[in-house]
């Protein structure tokens, strides 16, 4: 997958978790949590949805690497290369 494709998938997943999330004004370099008003239970859903769609395992220790949209993409690039 390309960077843009990964970004698109992530935004789609977030939108699916909270259909009122303001994605238009999302700053990719800032923490998702602060911008989206979501909590740790919602973030678990992003991880679970990625697992369901692409069978990738994200260990809990790696969750901090999913803090911003940019860091998520960077984390996922090598893992979704073949997807």
């Amino acid at each position: 997958m390309t960077i843009d494709e990964i970004k698109k998938v992530l935004l789609e997943i977030i939108q699916d978790i909270d259909d009122e999330a303001d994605l238009e004004n999302l700053n990719p370099a800032d923490a998702l949590r602060d911008q989206l008003d979501l909590d740790s239970m919602d973030f678990l859903d992003i991880v679970m949805e990625l697992r369901k769609r692409y069978q990738i395992q994200i260990p809990e220790a790696d969750y901090p690497q999913l803090a911003t949209l940019d860091s998520c993409v960077n984390y996922l690039i090598p893992r979704l290369k073949a997807a």
Binding site: D18, D37, D39, M41, D42, M48, K52, E60
Partner: protein, 473 residues
């Protein structure tokens, strides 16, 4: 032999929520429900063509859609139910009524209770505010040893009357201990009832259960009704599966039991496994608090007598409020009077419903039920319902002549239909807060895990799957 990654005992609210959560990410899961309907303690039945709810007075933890971190809204997101698709009706005003001494009204606007306390207990305003600061800062979900909530509240509120009035609704709507409760439970209930407040979904509990069942099935979840679990099977210190009442063995990777803690222990037929699960004897873990509940339907003329602006009245007549198993079959000195029609946007139907709850003694009702003279139990029901009506007459006025239908259920009824030992609707006084058990792949969810009420039960199911099962996969 059938095999599932996850089996769930019980199709009540916590079991359904756990099932939805697990099925949502494409996993196979089976719920086994003993009864012919879903809902557990919050179910429904039909009498003379009318649908009657078994347990629901009101749901706690009201939150407006904008408050994204509120337990109710977090829960709905986790179940993937869009908040705006569920229509909620907020309560009007509820009241804590200790006749001849004091009354306190509260609504979903917490300031009403604060103003009422300022008016009736001016000397306690400062202490109440200090207690609130402590409550707001308290993490009630962190596992920690049991602490007496009574002692905590008494360090702030020197006025015993105010203390008892604050405890009264919280105990009636969630107390599993006699005359006290664990501080975490107190704080969960205080927020759920006073700070967030009561609501009802549009329709009945059947509609809410229908929504949850549909969501579960949409995600591919399976549920079997009239399918009790006879036995939990173990192998090498792990749960290997269950045997149903019909004799089928179903194996699983993980098992969530929502049957209750002592009730789950009973499902181990091998004594060593039961002892490993819990060494506590059943009389130490079974809840002692159960209720007599009467449901009344009045004709429209009763509208002239009944309060239209009261949703729930929590009353106490005795000098000292007592929340414990009574010596008599029923304790009429206190109770809950609920008007399920008195929520906002109510359509006026052809009848008005009232539900009345009193503390009841399980043993007394059981003895009557088991008596060789089969007329004794129904006669006892009639007798106590009549006595209850007399007491209610003094509180809300006499409406006996307007009754078009009435039905009552006792601790024995509750035990028979929900499998909760001794009809203890709020479960064991020992809560398993982290949901873990001796067996690494068996978890407790629901009332005995310690989240309370309908929102609590649903959150319990969600949390157990999030914390324990998703992590292992």
């Amino acid at each position: 032999m059938r095999k599932y990654p996850l089996l769930i005992i019980g199709g009540g609210l916590s079991g359904l929520a756990a099932g939805i959560r697990f099925a949502r990410f494409g996993q196979k899961v089976l719920i086994l429900e003993k009864h012919s309907k879903a809902g557990g303690l919050n179910s429904y039945y039909y009498r003379k063509g009318r649908l009657l709810e078994t347990g629901l007075h009101a749901i706690t933890n009201y939150a407006s859609p904008e408050d994204k971190h509120a337990p109710l809204n977090r829960l709905l997101r986790q179940l993937k139910i869009p908040r705006r698709t569920v229509k909620l009706r907020q309560q009007k005003t509820s009241e804590i009524l200790f006749p001849g001494r004091a009354n306190l009204c509260f609504s979903n606007d917490f300031s009403m209770l604060q103003l009422q306390i300022a008016k009736r207990f001016p000397g306690s305003v400062k202490q109440f505010a200090q207690m609130l600061t402590e409550i707001d800062a308290y993490d009630a979900f962190a596992p920690r040893p049991k602490v007496s909530a009574r002692t905590f509240v008494a360090t702030f509120l020197q006025d015993r009357l105010l203390l008892e009035m604050i405890f009264c609704p919280l105990m009636f709507y969630g107390g599993s201990d006699e005359d006290d409760m664990d501080l975490s439970q107190f704080i969960i209930l205080f927020r759920a009832i006073f700070q967030e407040g009561f609501f009802r979904p549009e329709g009945t509990i059947k509609d809410l259960l229908g929504l949850l069942l549909q969501q579960y099935k949409n995600f591919g979840g399976e549920i079997e009704f009239s399918s009790g679990v006879k036995e939990i099977l173990t192998e090498n210190n792990r749960i290997s599966g269950i045997r149903t009442d019909a004799g089928e063995v179903i194996s699983c990777d993980d098992l969530i039991s929502t049957a209750g803690f002592p009730e789950t222990k009973r499902l181990f037929s091998v004594p060593e496994a039961a002892a490993a699960f819990s060494e506590l004897p059943e009389d130490k873990t079974s809840g002692r608090l159960s209720f007599l509940e009467s449901i009344y339907l009045f004709n429209k003329s009763a509208r002239n007598h009944l309060p239209e602006d009261r949703t729930i009245i929590f009353y106490n007549l005795s000098e000292k409020f007592s929340y414990r198993r009574p010596d008599d079959a029923v304790d009429l000195n206190s109770g809950v009077i609920c008007f399920p029609d008195n929520f906002e946007r109510n359509r006026q139907g052809d009848t008005i419903q009232m539900r009345v709850t009193h503390l009841a003694n399980y043993e007394k009702w059981l003895h009557a039920y088991q008596d060789a003279d089969t007329s004794r139990y129904p006669a006892m029901k009639t007798d106590w319902t009549e006595r209850s009506r007399k007491v209610l007459g003094k509180i809300i006025g006499n409406c006996s002549e307007n009754i078009v239908y009435e039905d009552s259920f006792t601790p024995v009824t509750i035990e028979r239909f929900t499998s909760r030992t001794q009809g203890a609707v709020y479960g064991s006084s020992e809560k398993i807060k982290d949901g873990r058990t001796y067996f690494a792949n068996l978890y407790i969810a629901g009332t005995d895990q310690g989240y309370l009420g309908i929102v609590g039960a649903l959150l319990s199911g969600v949390t157990m799957v999030n914390q324990h099962i998703f992590n292992k996969m």
